[in-house]
């Protein structure tokens, strides 16, 4: 059972988020402050850390640097700021992913699963491969049968999530949460139109699918043709 440490100062969020992760099958321990969190990381060797940035005793980004100094454990940062500058700064500082408040329990667990998948069964930063489709996370490019695909940033993120969860039906709401970071907002039609473009660029149609299979009333899954 993957061990997750949740560092969050808000008592209610800590309790509920830990509960959501526990119900999703993770072994969760939590800390209310930066120092306590750092001790847990050093002592327990967790598989993943969920780190809130707004901690009372130390800024979360400072804690992130301290964690990086002693461990390579994957870290998901929970932040109230979603501007690009803050995100780039956090990722450069060593975060593996981030969730923007107000996140849902489902969104948090999906992120944890995705990061663990990348850091566990696959080596972090390694290419994702499904059939003739090869996605390089680090280079942010995708090749289809060796040919470089021309994808928009959203199409890339969409394909990445679907490739990370290959064979699983992913709901449009999950995609809105994971790709658009709008777990409750947004329109599923936005997902539809991006999926249409992906199909077109993958050289397939909804009636004659290869990689992208629509599961009516549920969502979409990416499979090896």
């Amino acid at each position: 059972m993957p061990r997750v440490i949740l560092v969050e100062d808000d008592h209610t969020i800590r309790r509920l988020a830990a509960d959501a992760l526990a119900r999703a099958g993770f072994d969760v321990d939590s800390a209310a402050g930066a120092m306590e969190g750092l001790q847990l990381v050093v002592k327990d060797h967790p598989d993943l850390v969920v780190l809130d940035l707004g901690l009372p005793d130390l800024d979360g980004s400072e804690l992130l640097r301290m964690i990086r100094a002693v461990s390579q454990v994957p870290v998901i940062v929970a932040t109230a700021r979603e501007d690009e500058g803050s995100m780039v700064e956090l990722l450069d500082a060593g975060a593996d992913d981030y969730v923007v408040k107000p996140y849902s329990g489902e969104q948090l667990t999906a992120r944890v699963r995705a990061v663990l998948r990348r850091g566990g069964t696959e080596t972090a930063g390694a290419d994702l491969v499904v059939g003739g489709l090869v996605l390089s996370v680090t280079a942010r490019d995708v090749r289809l049968d060796g040919e470089l695909m021309d994808l928009s940033p959203k199409e890339f993120d969409l394909l990445r999530v679907l490739m990370e969860r290959r064979g699983e039906v992913v709901t449009k709401r999950e995609l809105l949460a994971d790709v658009w970071r709008e777990p409750y907002g947004g329109s599923e039609r936005t997902v539809d139109v991006h999926l249409s473009w992906l199909r077109k660029k993958l050289g397939e149609t909804a009636s004659e699918p290869r990689y992208l299979r629509t599961v009516h009333g549920v969502g979409v899954k990416l499979v090896e043709p």
Partner: protein, 432 residues
């Protein structure tokens, strides 16, 4: 200010030039007159001396012919009158001055008949002779006109040079003021980076420095205000996370969805506040409605084709500027198109028409039309794979621009949404 300065300098220099040119002109006239008369007097004296010499050299009273031969040919306007009505030279008039000179035995002059006449008495044996000289007006005023013309020209040059200097001086004062006014307008329009060069007279420099200080201060205060609003909004996200996680634990699905929906709307509201606070305070951006609609139509066409929907787009061939950033306008168009896909079945066609006047956008579909019990613009009224926020944002954005958005029945029986973007932004167009 420049015009006033020029008028003032024109008045002063004209007065000064007049004060000099008029007396100088009078002096020139008098000098010319004096010069001509002096020359005539000298001529009369020369003739008189010659006449006296002839008379002294003669043994008796010489005859008129002898005197005439001795004097030689006299120039025009010079005559000699001998006692007994004999005269030498072509004389025109002069009887009055000659009579007075011979009678009174003194030189007599007078301005008569378009000229000046001088009679000079010469006493001879048989009585009193007279030398008469006449100077016509033309000769009295000889050289006057060119001299006066030169004076007037010099006066005009003086006035002209003064005007030029006044204009340069006016420019040095007004250009910084004009630039200051333009900078103030730019600042008012939201360009907080605007500054002015500190140039010009000391008073204008002081105003320019104050303006630059004010702009810098405004920028700092506004940035702090915006950051404060954004920060407060960010802090609201933590209790909102708690609320969302708690709502997810509610057992009753209907109640859970209802509360989660409210949380989403609250989240969207906070996002809007943050976006507004972070929106650059530059002059309002403009986007071309025609280009955006065409672009978004191309983006959605792939899904429309997949679902067998006929899509028609009518846009004018000219730019239709709207006072919105391209991203914001694109999001509005996406919300309208997404609404059609959400509320009409696959196969239902739709059209988008951009109207230049208004400007406006009409999105019509061939679906089942509006359900009279539902306000499509009401938040959260969708529930069909959409947050229902899109049309509400469309309406509020249109209203912010002074326009509106409303639903109506489409001509082909489906539903239409009309969006008016307020007064035309043609005058504010800055796009490429």
């Amino acid at each position: 200010m420049r015009r006033r300065l020029r008028v003032l300098v024109l008045a002063v220099t004209t007065l000064v030039a007049t004060a000099f040119v008029v007396p100088l002109g009078i002096l020139v006239v008098r000098q010319a007159d004096l010069r001509a008369r002096t020359a005539a007097e000298r001529q009369a004296q020369d003739v008189a001396a010659t006449l006296v010499g002839v008379l002294v050299a003669a043994s008796g009273e010489p005859s008129l012919e002898e005197v005439s031969a001795a004097l030689g040919p006299l120039p025009d306007g010079v005559g000699v009158i001998l006692p007994g009505d004999g005269s030498i030279g072509a004389m025109t008039g002069g009887e009055a001055v000659v009579a007075t000179a011979t009678t009174e035995g003194r030189a007599v002059s007078a301005y008569v008949n378009g000229g000046w006449e001088l009679a000079f008495p010469v006493v001879i044996r048989s009585g009193v002779a007279a030398v008469w000289v006449r100077v016509p007006d033309e000769e009295l005023r000889s050289g006057v006109l060119p001299a006066i013309g030169l004076l007037v020209a010099l006066g005009a040059v003086l006035v002209g040079v003064a005007q030029l200097l006044a204009d340069r001086l006016g420019r040095s004062m007004t250009v910084p003021m004009t630039e200051l006014a333009a900078a103030a307008r730019r600042l008012g329009a939201g360009d907080l980076d605007t500054r002015v060069d500190v140039v010009g007279p000391p008073e204008v420099e002081a105003v320019s420095e104050s303006f630059n200080w004010l702009a810098a201060r405004l920028e700092v205060l506004l940035a702090a205000e915006r950051e404060s609003v954004a920060d407060v909004s960010h802090r609201l996200r933590t209790p909102l996370t708690s609320l969302r996680l708690q709502a997810e634990r509610i057992a009753d699905p209907a109640e859970r969805e209802s509360i989660l929906g409210q949380v989403s709307r609250l989240d969207a509201g906070i996002n809007e506040v943050i976006a507004d606070a972070r929106r650059p305070s530059e002059a309002p951006a403009t986007a071309d409605l025609a280009a955006i609609v065409s672009g978004r139509a191309r983006f959605w066409r792939v899904l429309a084709d997949e679902q067998g929907r006929a899509m028609t787009v009518e846009v004018p061939s000219v730019r239709v500027p709207v006072l919105l950033a391209e991203k914001e306008l694109g999001a509005m168009v996406d919300a309208l198109i997404g609404n059609v896909f959400t509320h009409t079945p696959a196969g239902a066609g739709f059209s988008m028409m951009v109207e230049e006047d208004g400007p406006g956008l009409i999105v019509s579909d061939s679906g089942a039309g509006w359900d009279s019990d539902i306000d499509p613009f009401e938040r959260g009224s969708s529930g069909r794979g959409s947050s229902g926020l899109g049309l509400d944002i469309v309406r509020r954005t249109a209203e912010r621009l002074g326009g509106n958005a409303y639903a109506m029945d489409a001509p082909q029986g489906g539903a239409s949404i009309v969006v008016r973007f307020g007064p035309s932004a043609a005058g504010d167009w800055v796009g490429g």
